[in-house]
């Protein structure tokens, strides 16, 4: 494996992080079970939850890696994955599967199995949130869920996905305790019917503050001990400094850059250990939060860029040491990765709207470049005010082809947040976390609730509400499409099916939201999220200033092309009849080569800056957006849409038969807002134009993947062009773009399966061409040349 890192220390830490196999760690689950056995029904629910964290942090195995400068792991060592039986109580079969599966596997030992069987399962079976949730859903919901009409984020995991605001970097847990105590003292037991519930919640927060400080104290003592034993004077001094850091944080406001990073890390561990909030937790604008400390330390002569970078690289290793908590079943399919989606935003704007790029921003880019880790997921925020130098440095890293950093449009994100009702100040403090989802950091619970399989809803329309994959009538009977006389009739039928399915999804969501509000508070996350203390309310119960829920639409490219194929061929040009098309779909296009060729190659498709198809995309988008947006959540917030898939487009494709656009049965649907795989044939500017026709500002985030060969963006000119593509997309209010740069293996695949790579453009010599259009010999030449250019 490639060694990376700025020095021997980082290389060694990174090596451990990269080479350690993720494994199950039951210590948390066992301690939690003890706490529940002792305290359940004796204390309030929030307090019970807080006691779990306190006990775990008081008893957990501490880890101190060789050469570490930042301390703390969620489990007993790097790549440990604690389990959360209060959310999902894994069966022994689950445990075997997670150990044995070929990808995203976690080692489970014999002892783990024994503990699970003897301690965890007997206590938690039937009591987990997953059990409660599934028991509360209607048969209709269950059938649709099982058939892959939608997914459910809270099925195995807690509501997650938020990002710290600036508080996380300027307040210690002793400071929070004062605030919390003040809130308790101010409770009005004379008039407020919720005063007791608030007191329970606030007391739980106090316990959680202690929990974090206990962990800090234990590490302090360990470091002192290790320092005393250490014979290497350099390391000894480091250990002493680390112990000294812990005399300040996490209890108090950090005094140095180093302490600020350590404080964040403890908060990260606390929030992600308290529950399993999918998408972990994120530090928000890390560069801006760290900059004041950096500046002061540099002035005081106690920090230089080398040390500042080294500490960032240590933090990166810490992120990478935490695999996502184990997923199984559908949840694994929608998010099949070890990545826990902590997402670091760099650049952007400051609270006052001015350019936010600073010296730490560049150090973060260097760190990202040097470390090449998929965790933390790193991105840059680009605003109109972002210096070109910063954008180009980010492009330089991005074109290395491993997908980071992704690029986000700060100015558009501010518009999204304003549109969703935030104040300008709060909007400017927002950004994207998880994949691309927008929120006001430190102020908002913006919960993803699940992916919606839009192409499958359309497929139900094609079969009068019947799902030929599960063999069930999942949709409404909107009529036999073969009798439809016009495109409008088809559109109306789809509209009804969409409405029906979103109703089912939201009804389920509302129940789930209440289940979490009632049974699974997150007092620690509530401490660091604005207004929870003030309101005495939990994050999972509408305590934060803003409460947004998202439904993520998947497959806009696929459904657009399906509608275009029908409008163009059946109604506008009468190339074939609906009956013939449905028959072809039934037969997976076998024996219907003519129709197949027409819908694949002779029909306007989304992604080519062709209004025929792009108008349809806009119609679908608006219909979906308006169907979801503004629906009330149970905590007084509103629903909004996102357009992103994680890995769900593959799962959603698996459960759909052949579609009208020529996508064969069970093949993936389109991802994000990217065009269907074989649809875009006019190059990157056309894709960007098509995608920008969607009104991004009215979403909570969209995702666009753009593919390149290394040679198409080579040299200084290539960098300029890449930067121009990004600036132009963002000028058109695009939300997010990321780049894939093809390697030799992909080109070899493209040679074998040209139809899957119709949109792959390669630089030939003096001109560019589609790879599929080149003869084999030339393809070989380019494959060899591309290999050399790496």
């Amino acid at each position: 494996m490639e060694e990376r890192g700025m020095n021997a220390r980082i290389k060694a830490l990174r090596k451990v992080s990269m080479e350690t196999q993720p494994h199950i760690d039951l210590e948390r689950a066992k301690i939690e079970t003890e706490v529940y056995k002792e305290w359940e029904d004796k204390v309030s629910l929030p307090v019970l939850r807080a006691l779990v964290l306190k006990e775990y942090f008081s008893k957990k195995t501490l880890y101190l890696g060789e050469g570490e400068l930042i301390v703390g792991e969620k489990g007993k060592d790097p790549q440990s994955s604690p389990t959360f039986p209060e959310l999902t109580c894994h069966t022994l079969e689950d445990m075997h599967i997670m150990n044995d599966r070929a990808v995203v596997n976690y080692t489970v030992t014999e002892q783990d199995l024994k503990d699970q069987e003897e301690i965890i399962i007997p206590y938690w079976k039937g009591k987990s949130m997953r059990d409660k949730l599934l028991a509360s859903m209607t048969d209709e919901w269950k059938e649709c869920y099982a058939a892959g009409m939608f997914t459910e984020f809270m099925e195995q995991r807690g509501p997650g996905h938020t990002c710290g605001g600036k508080n996380v970097f300027i307040k210690g847990y002793a400071d929070y305790k004062i605030e919390i105590q003040e809130a308790i003292d101010a409770l009005d037991f004379m008039n407020d019917p919720e005063a007791l519930a608030k007191k329970d919640e606030l007391e739980a927060m106090l316990i959680d503050c202690d929990a974090v400080m206990i962990l800090g104290q234990r590490y302090h003592d360990l470091l002192k001990e290790e320092a005393a034993k250490c014979e290497d004077p350099v390391r000894k001094a480091e250990l002493e400094q680390m112990a000294a850091n812990l005399e300040v944080v996490p209890a108090h406001k950090p005094q140095t850059y180093w302490q600020a990073i350590q404080l964040y890390w403890f908060t990260h561990l606390a929030v992600t250990t308290e529950l399993n909030p999918w998408d972990a937790f994120s530090p928000g604008r890390l560069d801006q939060h760290l900059f004041p400390y950096y500046e002061k330390d540099v002035e005081d002569g106690i920090l230089d860029d080398e040390r500042a970078l080294e500490l960032l690289e240590c933090l990166w290793v810490k992120f990478n040491n935490q695999p996502a908590p184990v997923k199984v079943g559908v949840t694994l399919k929608e998010s099949g990765t070890y990545t826990d989606f902590a997402n670091i935003n760099t650049g952007g704007i400051k609270e006052d709207g001015t350019n936010g790029v600073n010296a730490v921003s560049y150090l973060i880019l260097d760190c990202m470049d040097e470390m090449k880790l998929v965790q933390p997921n790193s991105n840059v925020q680009i605003s109109k005010k972002t210096p070109q130098k910063f954008l180009k440095r980010a492009c330089e890293i991005s074109r290395k082809g491993w997908g980071q950093p992704a690029f986000y449009n700060t100015d558009e994100i501010v518009q999204e947040l304003l549109n969703a009702g935030k104040t300008l100040d709060d909007a400017r403090q927002g950004g994207s976390s998880g994949c691309v989802e927008t929120g006001s950091w430190g102020n908002e619970a913006y919960i993803l609730t699940g992916y919606l399989n839009i192409p499958k809803i359309f497929q139900l329309t094609m079969y009068n509400g019947f799902d030929n994959q599960s063999g069930k009538q999942l949709g409404l009977k909107t009529g036999d499409v073969r009798d439809f006389k016009s495109y409008d009739e088809l559109w109306d039928a789809f509209k009804k099916q969409l409405h029906h399915m979103v109703d089912i999804k939201v009804r389920g969501n509302n129940v789930i939201e209440k289940l979490y509000a009632n049974y699974m508070p997150a007092p620690c996350l509530s401490i660091v999220t604005n207004d929870c203390i003030k309101k005495g309310k939990d994050y999972n119960n509408g305590g934060s200033r803003y409460n947004t829920r998202y439904i993520q639409g998947v497959g806009i490219g696929t459904i657009t092309d399906c509608l275009s194929a029908i409008k163009y061929n059946v109604f506008d040009n009468k190339n074939f009849t609906m009956e013939e098309l449905v028959k072809a779909m039934d037969d997976n296009f076998e024996g219907h080569e003519e129709i197949f060729n027409m819908v694949c190659n002779k029909t306007p498709k989304y992604g080519n800056d062709d209004d025929y198809a792009d108008d349809i995309m806009q119609d679908v988008f608006k219909l979906y957006r308006d169907e979801v947006t503004g629906r009330p959540t149970m905590s007084g917030g509103q629903y909004h849409v996102d357009m992103l898939p994680t890995t769900c487009h593959i799962y959603f494709g698996e459960v759909i038969g052949a579609t009208a656009n020529g996508r064969l049965a069970n093949k993936p649907v389109s991802e994000g807002i990217s065009p269907e795989k074989f649809a875009d044939t006019n190059g990157p500017t056309a894709v960007i134009k098509s995608c920008a026709k969607m009104d991004h500002c009215s979403t909570g985030g969209t995702l666009l993947n753009q593919k390149f060969t290394p040679s198409a963006i080579a040299g200084e000119t290539g960098l300029d062009n890449l930067a121009s593509l990004i600036r132009t997309y963002f000028a058109m209010d695009g939300h997010h773009i990321q780049f894939n740069v093809f390697d030799k293996e992909t080109l070899l695949e493209a040679q074998k399966h040209p139809d899957d790579y119709k949109d792959l453009i390669v630089r030939v010599a003096g001109y560019s061409d589609y790879f599929r259009n080149l003869d084999e010999e030339l393809q070989n030449e380019i494959i060899n040349r591309t290999a050399q250019s790496f």
Binding site: D720, V764, A765
Partner: protein, 303 residues
């Protein structure tokens, strides 16, 4: 109207910034290394990817001229004398191995296409490049109307030309063109005739006249070992430019490549450049030095 073979977006090697390059069909020169043989003839043509043809025979059935048959090797064979480029076989071919190259656009349609990427041009300092084939060999009124319309929209226009067209055609569009990419191949008239099919007299005259108007001209030199890939040939070109006081802001030395050769077969043609060779990287570097020493500072290898 004129046939256009391709409108290439995100074109990044035919002038500055991100561009859209319009390839017009038709050219009077017949450069042996031409990598766009489909742009040589002025009329639309049928292209058939014979190696990929499965011999299914669907094209045979739909051809109104009876121009297509299936060979003993199981490949379609098209009698190009009988073919009227009606496009019926193109629609019939399930593998899309048959295409008609050359589509006609009105000025209005073409301008609309070119405007699609306006925001990219403006952000990157790019624009539209009219290329070919030989754009200057097209109908002057059409090209003038096109350039004028693009100019009115604020689009920066670049013309990529081999110089083989009446000077009046150039004169007609000078006010609307920002940059000229002007090909110069070889000073020796006989060599020019041998490899380009025509002499270079008009080409060089046009260059001198155009330069005198103060036009911004990038000189582009395809470098082919057998034709001009030597010190003397380069020196001749340099001397010519100096003598005529032509000071291009950029010179591009474009090493010959055979990557267009695969297209000839699709058009029923044979590649005439079999014996041509590419200069080595070292030789290319030597040429750059030669130009630099002669006082031309911005000399690039490649487009």
């Amino acid at each position: 109207m004129h046939a256009i073979t391709n409108i290439q977006k995100y074109s990044i090697h035919d002038g500055d910034g991100i561009r859209t390059t319009v390839f017009f069909k038709g050219c009077h020169l017949r450069c042996q290394w031409c990598h766009n043989p489909e742009t040589q003839r002025f009329e639309p043509e049928l292209q058939v990817d014979i190696p990929k043809c499965t011999g299914c025979g669907r094209c045979v059935k739909v051809c109104p001229q009876g121009a297509i048959s299936i060979s003993a090797e199981g490949k379609s064979v098209t009698d190009r004398d009988k073919c009227i480029i009606c496009g019926k076989c193109v629609n019939a071919c399930l593998g899309n191995y048959r295409t008609v190259v050359g589509q006609e656009y009105t000025v209005k349609e073409l301008v609309k296409k070119c405007l699609q990427d306006q925001m990219f041009y403006e952000e990157s300092g790019g624009g539209v490049t009219l290329s070919g084939g030989e754009v200057m060999a097209m109908d002057t009124e059409y090209i003038q109307a096109l350039c004028k319309a693009l100019h009115r929209e604020g689009i920066s226009v670049t013309i990529d030309t081999c110089g083989q067209a009446p000077y009046s055609n150039y004169e007609a569009i000078i006010p609307y063109v920002d940059t000229w990419l002007y090909d110069v191949k070889v000073m020796d008239d006989d060599l020019h005739k041998k490899y380009m099919g025509m002499g270079n007299k008009l080409i060089l005259e046009n260059l001198v006249r155009l330069a005198k108007t103060g036009a911004r001209i990038y000189i582009r030199i395809p470098v082919v070992k057998e034709v001009n890939g030597n010190w003397e040939s380069m020196a001749d070109i340099i001397d010519f430019l100096k003598k005529n006081d032509i000071r291009p802001p950029q010179v591009n030395l474009l090493p010959y490549h055979s990557t267009g050769s695969h297209k000839y077969g699709k058009l029923g043609m044979e590649y005439p450049g079999q014996l041509l060779t590419t200069p080595t990287d070292e030789e290319m570097q030597d040429f750059v030095r030669q130009w630099n020493e002669a006082g031309f500072s911005n000399v690039k290898i490649g487009g």
